[in-house]
């Protein structure tokens, strides 16, 4: 069929039929035979998406005015329903979702080439999907985040958007958030990784160090405690079979490094005592997960390679050292106590990582990193053990 013919046919319908037909058309284009010129197909799909799905362009390809809020909602519900339809390929696990749907998701919400409003659309869609247990969308999103990198702009924007427009408006005890690790473990794990990069991170050249909202902290603690293996999900998920043929799976990043950083920074930055208790719980959950989670998983799957939970080079960032020095200089008993806590957590985390054999880097570098820190009995003990 000629490309124009497809468009002309679709133009005969109005919303919602036009969108529905367009989605079906896109599906057959993307998952159709590959003998055709692939890039042409993709162009057509992109055109159809912007004209008939998101209504960003008109017949001539010119931008149109943004759709109404009602229409916006109707469209989201329609996409949700589309993904919730009986699976095209049966018997998938709950991790990777459906290959065909993943491909469509990637085309609907690509990294590049889509107008910025589409990002808003994505955040709304994921919020809706979490609330309505539309697991296939979440699974596709989880894959897309991993493929593009959990600390990529795409994933960060999504994570940040979810926090600002969704998490802050609901309670951490909300059942849909509770069940998220069961329903979409890869998405949950990757979301944690993205979230972990958003806070206590000076990379973004912020003036001050940002701490996460309490609800985010609460929900992450709850997630990790619910399943010690959850943080490893991205590592052991076989993405290849979830991706369209020809796509190369990207390496997994785990939330450990970022979340451990939260725990190291918190005693020195966070003033709220109630929040500090939560960081203590998070730290405990993390080292438990590092030691126990991987042990449990590896016992069941001996052939999966070992992941890294900490890296020697980034475990003690310069910024943390600066904060510690500052605290010691102040000679304030409270601040000194906080330094103790930080050193204690550092030692415990590194120990956990060593015990589970998931630390990246060489011994000597690690020892010199640790020796640059103030003296502490546990650190000494740890260094002694590393050198053994």
């Amino acid at each position: 069929m000629d490309f124009n013919e497809v468009k002309v046919n679709l133009r005969k319908f109005a919303f919602p039929l036009s969108t529905e037909n367009a989605l079906n058309q896109i599906q057959s284009i993307i998952n159709g035979e590959t003998t055709r010129k692939q890039h042409l197909n993709e162009d057509l799909a992109m055109d159809l998406i912007s004209e008939f799905v998101f209504c960003e362009t008109n017949e001539e390809g010119k931008p149109t005015k943004p759709m109404s809020r009602i229409r916006h909602l109707e469209l989201l519900v329609m996409i949700c329903d589309y993904f919730n339809k009986p699976k095209i390929k049966p018997d998938n696990d709950n991790c990777c979702g459906d290959t065909a749907l993943n491909a469509i998701f990637m085309t609907l919400f690509p990294q590049f080439g889509a107008p910025p409003l589409r990002t808003n659309m994505l955040i709304s869609l994921i919020s809706l999907a979490i609330s309505t247990y539309s697991n296939l969308i979440l699974q596709s999103a989880g894959i897309q985040m991993q493929q593009l990198g959990c600390s990529s702009k795409y994933s960060s924007q999504l994570a940040d958007g979810l926090v600002k427009r969704f998490f802050t408006f609901i309670d951490a005890k909300n059942p849909s958030l509770h069940l998220l690790p069961q329903n979409a473990p890869l998405f949950t794990a990757n979301l944690m990784t993205s979230l972990s990069e958003l806070y206590f991170n000076k990379k973004t050249m912020d003036i001050s160090i940002k701490e996460p909202p309490r609800v985010v902290l609460e929900i992450i603690v709850r997630w990790i405690n619910s399943d010690t293996r959850l943080c490893f999900t991205a590592h052991y998920t076989d993405l290849q079979r979830a991706l369209p043929s020809g796509a190369i799976p990207m390496a997994a990043t785990l939330p450990f490094l970022g979340l451990f950083r939260w725990c190291f920074f918190a005693p020195l930055c966070v003033k709220n005592n109630n929040d500090l208790v939560l960081y203590s719980e998070l730290h405990c959950a993390l080292i438990d997960s590092v030691m126990e989670g991987w042990k449990v998983y590896a016992a069941e799957n001996p052939r999966v390679s070992c992941p890294y939970t900490l890296s020697v080079h980034s475990v003690v960032p310069q910024q943390l050292k600066d904060l510690i020095d500052e605290a010691i200089k102040s000679n304030d008993p409270m601040a000194l106590h906080s330094v103790d806590v930080v050193l204690e957590r550092l030692a415990q985390s590194i120990n956990a990582s060593i015990i589970s054999d998931t630390i990246f880097g060489n011994k000597q570098d690690l020892v010199s990193q640790l020796e640059s820190l103030p003296e502490n009995k546990v650190l000494k003990l740890l260094i002694k053990r590393i050198q053994l």
Partner: protein
């Protein structure tokens, strides 16, 4: 910054850290524990302490994880086993009487991996020296892991049976049997572990247990068991369910009759099964099936029979001989009862009941049917006696057997089973039995005993046609033990005695008068007696019965006397002591006679007013006042029979 003593070991230092934060920040404390455990994986002290800390924090999941880690890494530590001994008994206890700590242990056990649960239970069961505890642990093991071991289950069955013997339990209702029957039984049967021989063994043990329990009356407390388990709420239903379960394994066709709610249908099924298969084939398996099911149903009916014979809050019943009459030829010596010829077959019309509202008769008939089926024909007969001896059925069906003997006319045997305690039941039984063996003097003595006791009786009951005028074929009936029927029954016997005396002394004024009084209690059938008396009276020149005004309340009788007085000049009625010289009326002039007539009429008028007085009160008065004269008649009657 570091205030810890350097000489303290690294382990100690870490544990001290962990302990120091327990109060302020339990997660910090836990992080230390995790670290210490990972650094010193071989140090039992650290691992056990972190388990204890989680235990004290009442954190079920974490404690369970610590505990399974301990079991895996330090399986031989004595302290660990001490801890296991602490909580295994709790697993056998009831959930709702547990302390907080015990509940925690229970939850923690459930949170352990299944393989560890199973291992723990079997090791603990093996180690346990107390039979009850051992058995509870094995039960728990079998319940949670039905596939675990059939051998274990069979061994437990033997253990329980031996324990019962070794502990010399005097009673079938003991804790070992209860567990064997109620807990282990269903489990063993459901898992296909029992062969046929063992199935029968279990069935016998089960039947014996439940029957003994049910027949022993409600709420027997089984000793040495916790309060929630020491009684059985629905022994019959439980017995039926158990038998159905075992019957299913033995592929019994009859197993459903037990729980059948329609008793008659069940009986039909059983009896046709007997006729069609058992008697014809003489198959021992089929016979066993029939005898088991039949015997259970039989005992159940006897149970219901006993219940309706002497219910807790309702009127009781007693099987007594029907009193025919009044004109009955009393044979001498007493005949062996005609009933004997039909003794093994139930003739439905031979037995009646004075009060249709009770089911006692139905229960008797049903029990009789089964009794007859089980004890009269081979091959069931042999099997029944064998089983009955094993389960000691006879000890529960005494009353029923006595009543069967009564039905068969073996009265002499029954004197020794009359209740020894002073009661209306005892007196009435004696009245009945002495009447049956025609010892009228003793019979009458006991009638006065009964009358004496009825005075304080609250339950009135109703006068019964069955007593007043039993159908011709009736030989016996169930009498409701209540004031009216019992009195009526005594009256009926008394009438018979007096009537037969009347044939020796046809003009005895007292006999005639007494009979008139008694006839009121069996009215309107009594009118026949009254008519006979009127006839006798009018033929006499003088009829003296001064008690007339005291005992006669029946309007028909008073009217009849009025008529005799008015129309008959030949007979002088000397019945009102107040009506002056009535004796002289015949020789007096008409004028003076007129005055007497007036007096007589006014006396009758006064008496008519007594008409509404309850008959039983009059009878009681009569029996009390006339005891001497009535006893005389009874004694004479007995003498006349012996000569």
């Amino acid at each position: 910054m570091e205030s810890m003593d350097i000489s303290v070991s690294e382990e100690e230092h870490m544990m001290a850290k962990a302990r120091s934060f327990l109060e302020t920040d339990c997660f910090r404390s836990r992080a230390w524990l995790l670290t210490a455990k990972s650094m010193f994986p071989d140090n039992f002290g650290i691992h056990f302490e972190s388990y204890e800390i989680e235990k004290n924090l009442r954190c079920v999941q974490r404690a369970a994880r610590c505990f399974s880690g301990l079991l895996e890494d330090f399986p031989n530590e004595a302290i660990l086993w001490k801890e296991i001994e602490n909580f295994t008994p709790i697993l056998c206890m009831d959930t709702f009487c547990l302390s907080e700590e015990q509940t925690f242990y229970r939850e923690m056990f459930s949170a352990l991996p299944l393989s560890i649960q199973q291992k723990l239970l079997s090791v603990c069961a093996e180690r346990s020296e107390d039979t009850m505890e051992h058995c509870r642990l094995v039960l728990l093991l079998l319940n949670r892991f039905p596939q675990s071991s059939t051998e274990l289950a069979l061994k437990l069955m033997d253990t329980m049976i031996t324990a019962e013997k070794h502990n010399q339990c005097p009673n079938v209702i003991n804790c070992y049997r209860k567990i064997l029957v109620c807990d282990l039984g269903p489990l063993l049967v459901s898992t296909n572990t029992l062969n046929q021989k063992n199935l029968y063994k279990m069935l016998t043990k089960t039947t014996e247990f439940y029957i003994t329990y049910a027949m022993g009356g409600h709420s027997i407390i089984i000793e040495n068991l916790p309060e929630t388990e020491n009684y059985i709420k629905t022994p019959w239903e439980d017995l039926f369910a158990s038998c159905e379960r075992i019957g299913k394994k033995l592929s019994w066709e009859l197993r459903y009759v037990l729980s059948q709610s329609d008793k008659r249908k069940a009986w039909k099924k059983v009896s046709s099964f007997a006729k069609k298969f058992v008697i014809a084939s003489n198959n021992s398996e089929l016979s066993k099936q029939l005898v088991f099911c039949g015997m259970i149903l039989f005992v159940k009916h006897v149970f219901e029979y006993n219940q309706s014979l002497q219910p807790e809050n309702d009127s009781e019943y007693l099987l007594v001989k029907a009193i025919k009459g009044p004109k009955v030829q009393i044979n001498k010596p007493p005949l062996k009862q005609a009933v004997l010829s039909i003794a093994t077959k139930l003739n439905e019309s031979v037995i009646g009941i004075t009060d249709e509202s009770s089911e006692v008769l139905d229960h008797f008939k049903m029990a009789f049917n089964y009794w007859e089926l089980l004890t009269n024909k081979e091959p069931m007969c042999t099997d029944y006696w064998k089983l009955s001896a094993q389960i000691k059925v006879d000890t529960f069906i005494g009353q029923f057997l006595n009543d069967i003997e009564f039905y068969q006319g073996k009265y002499k045997n029954l004197f020794k089973v009359v209740p020894s305690q002073e009661s209306i039941r005892r007196s009435l039984s004696l009245v009945n039995l002495y009447y049956c063996v025609q010892e009228f003097k003793k019979c009458a003595e006991n009638i006065f005993e009964v009358v004496h006791q009825t005075k304080s009786f609250i339950l009135n009951g109703k006068l019964s046609m069955e007593i007043a005028n039993p159908p011709e074929e009736r030989e016996m009936y169930y009498i409701q033990i209540a004031k009216l029927p019992v009195l009526q029954y005594c009256v009926k016997i008394m009438i018979q005695i007096l009537y037969s005396q009347l044939s020796n002394f046809p003009t005895d004024n007292d006999l005639i008068g007494h009979l008139l009084v008694l006839s009121q209690m069996v009215w309107p059938e009594g009118s026949e007696i009254a008519e006979d008396m009127y006839e006798r009276i009018v033929k006499m020149p003088l009829f003296t019965y001064p008690q007339f005004s005291a005992y006669i309340t029946n309007i028909d009788i008073i009217e009849a006397f009025m008529e005799i007085f008015e129309s008959n000049d030949k007979c002088v009625l000397n019945i009102y002591p107040c009506v002056g010289p009535s004796l002289n009326s015949r020789i007096s002039t008409r004028g003076t006679g007129k005055g007497i007539k007036e007096d007589f009429r006014s006396a009758v008028k006064t008496q008519v007013q007594q008409y509404s007085e309850p008959i039983e009160e009059t009878m009681l008065l009569f029996f009390m006042n006339e005891k001497k004269s009535l006893m005389k008649s009874a004694t004479l009657m007995e003498k006349s029979l012996t000569y």
